[in-house]
């Protein structure tokens, strides 16, 4: 008979010592913590208490301010490249409504997410944790690229038709059975020309989307809380007039070719406490102020970019080819309601993405899919089946808009066995999406607080 402890002892893996690089990076992280120790616990608790009293809207607002960065959308002047040196960026984690306390578990998840995201683009990047700061070290590259790649995005689930706005500002679902007689609604919901949520299924260009969004009433903070808004506060965009010098200059600065006769994005979107100041500061040098127009998307409304053909390279928001939808910002589930997203295969063996739900997520998912299913049943007539949809978005980018078959799931889809996202995936793209869902499932805000560069020759900062 064998002692199982002896078996475990024998299974103890031999590991190599840590690399000098890893040791140095860890030492620098500790040095950083020693140099800037965390504030005393008393003050920290007071700050958290204040945040919690000010309601989740503040957390949401902070998250979206950063989340927008992920989409590479800003009209900021491009950062200078740091060729030949080493960039050190420090991101500070901030609490959100979903993660009000930044304990070691939350910071560890933030660290893993940052590393995962950065390594996909900058394999040599080193990421370490110093208290509430994530320190990124990478050999000479563009600081803005690091910021865009490294900043955490948020995963959001919407009831598609219940939130999707028609050109008249009403939701598609508000039409009820009359959906079948409204061509705009049919295109948006059933997408006969293209899959719902993709470009061409009733989508519009950015200016038209923001214009429509800007006409919607602003929700009060209380109403937004009750509706589960993803974003607190307004979001600002600045557009250039069609054919203007503003568009020419902005196009050169941001790297796009303006379309004659169409407005162009000059700066934004920006949201957060300093958003208005930020959006004006983001106007590229040389853009005549007389040729630009500020549009404000009020709290309670969102502009989402259509599902991209490639998740690896979605069109940038200022790209004239990008298409958009306008929705009420009523989120059914957040990313932290799902667990373990992974690449899988469907019954036919085709790649898909599967995931599980938390206990709250299970209930929320069944409830929203039941609502969607009942609506599909309600508006469908004899021989006409108008399945309804829910949408999954990563910040402002739609990932997928799957349908709920009301005949198969009249009472919604139970969340017990998790969910699957199917449709046209390759193994790589399914894996990419699973990775995005994993990263997007982290509702922690990471704010870039400092960038410095170390000379490759002298080590000087």
């Amino acid at each position: 008979m064998i002692d199982e402890l002896e078996l475990v002892r024998r299974a103890r893996p031999e590991v190599r010592p840590p690399s000098e690089e890893a040791r140095s990076a860890a030492r620098r992280a500790l040095d950083g913590a020693i140099a800037s120790p965390a504030p005393p616990a008393r003050g920290h608790r007071r700050m958290l208490g204040r945040l919690s009293r000010l309601a989740p809207a503040i957390g949401i607002l902070i998250v979206i301010a950063v989340g927008a960065v992920f989409l590479s959308v800003h009209g900021r002047k491009p950062s200078s490249s740091a060729s030949g040196g080493r960039l050190v960026l420090v991101f500070r984690a901030e609490p959100t409504s979903q993660v009000p306390v930044l304990d070691s578990a939350a910071m560890s998840r933030a660290l893993a997410a940052m590393r995962q995201r950065l390594h996909a683009v900058f394999p040599g990047a080193q990421v370490s944790l110093a208290g509430k700061d994530l320190i990124v070290r990478v050999a000479g590259t563009n600081a803005r690229a690091i910021q865009e790649v490294g900043t955490t995005a948020r995963l959001l689930f919407y009831d598609w038709e219940a939130n999707l706005l028609l050109p008249n500002g009403k939701t598609v679902a508000s039409l009820g059975p009359a959906l079948s007689t409204n061509q705009d609604a049919l295109a948006l919901s059933q997408g006969p020309q293209a899959a719902p949520g993709s470009p061409g299924a009733g989508s519009v260009n950015l200016y038209d989307a923001v214009k429509l969004a800007s006409k919607q009433p602003a929700l009060s903070d209380a109403a937004c809380l009750a509706a589960n808004c993803a974003r607190g506060g307004a979001q600002y965009y600045i557009f250039g007039a069609p054919g203007s010098t503003a568009c020419t200059v902005a196009g050169k600065a941001l790297g796009y070719t303006p379309v004659p006769g169409e407005h162009c994005l000059v700066s934004g979107p920006d949201s957060g406490p300093t958003a208005l100041q930020d959006v004006y500061n983001g106007i590229p040098q040389g853009v005549p102020r007389s040729q630009v127009q500020l549009l404000t998307v009020p709290q309670g409304t969102v502009v989402l970019q259509a599902t991209p053909a490639s998740f690896a390279h979605p069109p940038k928001i200022f790209d004239p080819s990008a298409q958009f939808y306008v929705l009420k910002d009523h989120v059914a589930l957040f990313g932290n309601d799902i667990t373990n997203p992974r690449q899988s295969t469907d019954q036919s063996g085709a790649p898909d993405v599967s995931f599980g739900f938390t206990s709250h997520g299970k209930n929320a998912f069944q409830n929203v899919t039941a609502t969607i299913s009942r609506r599909g049943q309600l508006i469908s007539g004899i021989g006409q089946h108008y399945n309804q949809h829910f949408a999954v978005a990563l910040d402002q980018l739609l990932i997928t808009v799957p349908s709920i078959d009301y005949r198969t799931y009249p009472d919604g889809i139970p969340g017990d066995t998790g969910g699957d996202i199917t449709g046209g995936f390759t193994s790589t793209s399914a894996n990419d999406l699973a990775e995005q869902l994993r990263v997007g499932a982290l509702p922690v805000n990471l704010k870039l607080i400092s960038i410095h560069q170390r000379s490759a020759l002298t080590g000087a900062r």
Binding site: M1, I2, E4, L5, E6, L7, V8, R9, R10, A11, R12, P13, E14, V15, R16, P17, P18, S19, A22, R23, A25, A26, R27, A29, L30, D31, G32, A33, I34, P37, A38, S104, A105, M107, S108, R109, L111, A112, R115, H119, V127, S128, L129, A130, G131, N340
Partner: protein, 190 residues
């Protein structure tokens, strides 16, 4: 005046000094980084182990006021912090443990013992409850005493004993399908 040089000071003394002179905490890093990294690298992949090892010391620095001055060495305390950080890496750990046979150096890989091979043990470890696994691996791999494990994980010694017993029972049950261990072996408690 009268203090020992830093290099001769005990861990407890170094941590005590670091309350007024934070920079001396680096000595704790120098003494224990390799051990903490090795513990983590046995349980998860190298890249994650490097990051968590770094995190362990920044967390330890922030919580140094919670270090028990009567402890002779900071290693159990640091391994406890590392264990807590590992809890966020459960999936990564399960992958690594399942592949634990591959982590072992070929020349040091033990021969199958009565038919039970190392990878099979790794897979069985991955099926343990995480609390039981922490206790078992701190005991069997890191050779901490019950008291050190209790201090590291901030649990009573009795809980260490019961978790270890349950872990062993579970291992027997999982490995019992293999020749060499009877599935009806009674649970061992110490």
């Amino acid at each position: 005046v009268g203090r020992e040089p830093l290099e001769k000071a005990s861990d407890a003394d170094v941590i005590q000094r670091s309350q007024s002179d934070p920079a001396v905490f680096s000595a704790i890093f120098d003494r224990h980084f390799d051990a903490v990294y090795a513990y983590l690298a046995r349980r998860i992949a190298t890249a994650e182990a490097e990051d968590l090892a770094a995190s362990t010391f920044t967390v330890a620095f922030e919580r140094r006021d919670r270090f028990r001055a009567e402890a002779t060495t900071a290693r159990p305390w640091l391994l406890g912090i590392a264990s807590n950080l590992l809890r966020n890496e459960r999936r990564a750990e399960k992958r690594a443990l399942t592949a634990v046979g591959r982590l072992a150096a070929p020349e040091s890989a033990p021969p199958p013992q009565d038919g039970i091979e190392v990878p099979r043990v790794g897979a069985a470890l991955s099926r343990l409850d995480r609390d039981q696994r922490d206790v078992l691996l701190l005991y069997a791999w890191e050779e901490l005493s019950y008291e050190e494990i209790a201090a590291a994980l901030e649990i009573p010694v009795g809980t260490v004993r019961s978790r270890l017993a349950r872990a062993r029972g579970r291992l027997r049950s999982v490995l019992g399908e293999q020749p060499g261990l009877a599935s009806d072996t009674p649970e061992v408690s110490r």
